[in-house]
Symmetry: D2
Subunit: 348 residues, 4 copies
């Protein structure tokens, strides 16, 4: 059950509502987000919600039969829109492209990518500075110093950045230098991290776990939302299966299902989703057709020399051709996109 | 290794080539299809292929490093085209839609579906008369009598039919009354059945197994091809994963991978692939965008009353809307399609 | 619902019972096995079973809430015992070992294995003559001629044989030369094959599918039982997962679950279950501890030279050590076993 | 490559060795554990290891072809033994039982469990105070206060405790009140957490991830070891598959494989591994037979009233019966166990 409270509810009203809940056998969790205040409770028995709905300070009461509550569309049918920067929103029906290298490697690499993004009218750049690597002996990323440099250069170009946060102590350190936090597949059930991300006022993109179900992903989002942050983006990036012909199995079923079950925006990462460079464009187009709100794409000036994930990363020429195709395809679907008009057109 | 032989090779030349192969340590399999004759052999050691290539009766010799041989694109870069009927081909770059009910149920059902297909310019009808049901107490299909009736009515309307064959003894019985044989997911590794289907001259569509890999699917096709039938269509229909939010996980990665590895046409079954009626259209569009050669779609005049699979079956109105969207999307990709021009247009 | 009928029920009584069933909205399936006669029906609505139970010719009526009926322990709490030969039974609480090569290769191989089995008091030999191979170019087995030779030699030694049947037409051909039919993992949902195997009076061992669930396996058994053959053995042989360190993932959870849900005997194939020779003995012992009724084990005089599966096959010395360990372990569990007393003892 | 260094190597020698490594194109990582000092490096090209082996301060140089290095048995063939308390070691060939509730709930619950453990001669108690729950609205554990109370009571009874750590900031807070840290399945790839656990001098048990491979698990251990902590225990706890008949699929193949690939002790958690109370004992025995070094078992005075995991938790009577069976089985395998002699005996 979700109880929506008045914006500036009186403390005494709030206490009254809580005590009524407790009388009814509920254990309400108080949730304060930037825009609203809620009481959320799992309801096990039948309850007459009018007993709560009629109390002073209550705006609305919603029954939500899903196990997750705040992220469900059962109470909020319209979709959540998140401002990413002055040029870019996500969740409002428009399309948002986020592109960049797997790893941030050097100032010159950053500058080259930013120039490419600007030319193509893309205003969100992805990149990793803290890298979750299977081996402790692999390149672990440039860390906070890399982030600072990158953020400065990006901000100078009006570009927002998204980067993975791997540990609670990084949240605060990254805060001045980040626009969108990303939670990686390996942290999709790192509940303390998700809980802490509920306390910041910047958007958080949550990737589905390696073998995470739709339900797991929505519960991960519920952790962040219930701690106070409703600027959430869900991301399908491929699941682990027994198939050995590709790195992961991109599960586009997830897109219409997530759009049906939740009011949060959904993006797809086709680069990790198939893991094979030459097939990324096709899967990007399939993802667009599946109805997602945006893409997370790995690009690099010289994929062959990338510190990580080169085998699934597009070069600028391949990327530009894909942008053009995506734009055309979005037109077909009647979807707006901030990207600059390009030249290429054929559907690969 | 694949040795292409002259169309009307002399028996003595053939024997000579075989004996040379054996001298080289090979165990050649003779393959006769409607259009060509080959010798196929797994090669374990390094061999000078000129020793074979220079023999009388040999047209060409190809090294194929894949475990499957004849279905590989390593020796046949161009795609295989299959005539389905006078209006419909598959594999030539055009798009082929096959639609119909899960089960053939009655004459009136057949007539209603045929009328709908004709109105929409669709010339291949799917339907089951031998149904592979998990429980022996479930409806097992109308059997051969149903097939005869259906085939007659379809032929009268210029429509070809595709239906599942489950056992070797059905191949011959079905032969006069079928246009395209379908091998279901549960028989994807039924090697004797695949072997026997190599002896007929009608097209065979092979569905990927419940947990079948790309490699398994291509080997299944190799079984049919190596027994003499090269009119093969590969079908992605969703794999079994741990996800419980949908019936199967449609794996669209399979489309570009199969088009890259094999010269055979690839179709997608979005109905089984997600198993939820309201999401089938989105996944159908995503499949088109992934680059497949056709779709296998479940439709029914009254899905609520269907004998099987009603929960994933579109009614005619939903289906017609989807055809229109597909046609528009194909135009975007520059792909031809035999479907009649419809009225609807918006992509979601 | 399962209606047990009197052994020599009068035709008129049977008709009466069927018509009562139909009046109640049921569609009863008649099942005749060697020992009993049943009517089986899926019941959708609440029914007063006394209306049937009181009819002449009815011995007993059981409600079975599982989707599978005859193989369920919900109506038959005691376990089914199957005579394999005069020395060997399965399902009566004793332990049955079946060992032999993956492929039957030659007369001398057969003789050597039989000698080894006799020395160790093992009276069931496994072996393949029809081999389901992923590639059509791999060794496909010695076929019927191999089976005839093998069966003769085995019978001369008082040993029963178990071998895979892959197609309906093989059932009759194999019949005079086989003691136990095996349905392989790839045919676990080959329903016509299962249906036909219900018509023979010899035991059938059914392997779980590559990605088959417990429910799938029990439904496969239901197909055979409902066609008239109740001499069924279930076999866990490892499932396909994303793990690449072994061939399959042996799922020993399946053993106590199957023993709980069904009255049929359960055997384990540790050779396919892990696929790595040196680890087979450990998994065999774990399988014994999990409570199975028997093992299916791959052994060969010279595994390095085996035509197939050599990498997971034990040689005679390794096998003998394992038998001794199994025997000791069975003693610990208080389980009888026909194997001859050996010498080795330590738990490897 | 692993370079073992002299215990009190001179700084100048260390620098010399490092610079030689760098000259050879290596990037050595310095690892200091309580007992040893190493340089570890991934080697891409062929190197003459004598160039390093002959340097002053080097004890030994090992090539390790696995991707993980320090946890591999390729350089350390003997098994690692870890002292858990004065009565209990793990990895020395003896058997270690760890039992306790899913969640620590109250003082009286703790006391009751401790009494039971003492009576059965078990000296390690498991329990959760920080609970990783899928839903933010579920019971999250008693936290640090619960841990303090529990640790005090356990220490008074000479019992060590093992409990899950979920976040870096908990490591230090838990330190005075914990004997063995546990990393849960959901944090199996939480690399920063693993890295920080390398800096403590208490044992760490690492559970395999929900869909983690053997390789993933060994890499997780490598993270901890390479940061300085070699007191590591690996734990198989079931993986996620498509099977719905049990909570997880216990993968006992993992036991012999891990014992073969790594020198670290391996324990099994049969409670999570099958998730069904009545089948836990069978799977515990199967785990013992698979060759593991210990078990992690969920027990509770009243499982029906447990705050979490009651459906897979044994009561004291069931547990005592299982201990007796385990002890008997260990005798069969010639394995020592600290557990007190009990009374029950029968193997099922």
């Amino acid at each position: 059950m979700i109880i929506q409270l008045e914006k500036n509810i009186k403390e005494s009203d709030l206490e009254r509502i809580k005590s009524e809940c407790i009388k009814l056998g509920l254990k309400p969790t108080t949730v304060n987000t930037a825009s609203s205040q809620y009481l959320v409770s799992v309801v096990k028995n039948e309850i007459d919600i009018r007993l709560i709905g009629s109390l002073s300070g209550v705006t609305d009461v919603h029954r939500v039969s899903d196990d997750y509550k705040l992220v469900s569309r059962k109470w909020k049918v319209g979709y959540t829109t998140i401002e990413l920067n002055k040029n870019s929103r996500i969740g409002d029906g428009s399309f948002c492209l986020m592109a960049g290298p797997c790893s941030i490697e050097s100032e010159s690499q950053i500058r080259t990518v930013l120039k490419h993004l600007k030319e193509n009218g893309i205003s969100v750049m992805r990149g990793g500075v803290f890298k979750p690597r299977t081996s402790p002996y692999s390149f672990q990323g440039l860390g906070l110093e890399g982030l600072k440099l990158w953020h400065k250069l990006a901000a100078d170009n009006g570009v927002s950045i998204i980067s993975e946060v791997m540990a609670i102590d990084q949240i605060e350190k990254m805060y001045p230098h980040i626009d969108i936090y990303q939670v990686g597949a390996r942290n999709a059930q790192n509940f303390p991290l998700l809980h802490e991300l509920g306390k910041v006022d910047k958007p958080v993109l949550i990737k589905r776990g390696m073998s995470g179900t739709i339900d797991d992903l929505l519960h991960a989002a519920e952790y962040v939302f219930s701690s106070g942050n409703e600027k959430l983006i869900l991301c399908e990036r491929g699941i682990r299966t027994f198939e050995r012909a590709y790195r992961n199995t991109l599960d586009l079923n997830a897109v219409p299902i997530l759009k049906d079950k939740s009011h949060l925006p959904v993006v797809v990462d086709p680069s990790h989703g198939i893991g094979i460079r030459k097939h990324v464009p096709r899967m990007a187009l399939a993802a667009v057709a599946s109805g997602c709100d945006g893409l997370l794409l790995e690009i690099h000036p010289e994929p062959e020399k990338a510190f990580s994930d080169g085998q699934q990363t597009l070069n600028f020429e391949e990327a530009s051709r894909l942008y053009a195709d995506i734009k055309q395809l979005l037109k077909f679907f009647g979807v707006e996109c901030e990207m600059v008009e390009g030249s290429s057109a054929s559907g690969s």
